[in-house]
Symmetry: C2
Subunit: 102 residues, 2 copies
């Protein structure tokens, strides 16, 4: 599988960020075609002190072709436009091949 990984730095106003994420962004994200599952992670600590990121969202696709198709979809453009509007200065987006064990 492949995944689209979005790392978010800590927002200035967590409550406003979380409200926008759940009520506006997540519904747009869920419309993107080809997503098999998504996983949201909220970082609460790290061995070196406060973690450098607040949250990570991983959206899984069957293969690179499905990811490519998703990236070119109008649904992704809408989600991306929203992302830039509320978290453009917070996000790092990356694409990865994944390998699971156990």
């Amino acid at each position: 599988m492949v995944k689209l990984v979005t790392l978010y730095k800590k927002p200035a106003n967590i409550q406003v960020f979380e409200e926008h994420y759940s009520s506006v962004h997540l519904p747009l994200l869920e419309k993107i075609p080809g997503i098999i599952k998504t996983e949201l992670a909220r970082f609460f600590a790290g061995p070196q002190g406060e973690p450098p990121y607040y949250m990570m969202v991983e959206a899984y696709f069957a293969d690179r072709g499905s990811l490519e198709a998703a990236l070119q979809s109008p649904e992704n453009r809408a989600a991306d436009q929203d992302l830039m509007s509320f978290a453009g200065d917070l996000v790092t987006v990356m694409f990865a091949d994944t390998y699971e064990s156990q």
Copy 2:
């Protein structure tokens, strides 16, 4: 579930790094008690150009208590010592609560 997330920046020598990871570090990681599954991701691209990280390893635990116990285990100390020896300048380690959908 909770997970231990390790982000790796791109190593200077990918071949040496990958060989150490698979032959030395992964066997140490797999000995840590309480790990339910691990997922390895290699980043191959990003919309803003070259991704800032090379690889990510996520180790999943049942809950924060299991993670705490794992962190205090001798197996984790061995894995951490090895990690610092071959990738201390490359890694960011964080702990997260996870939420899966679909």
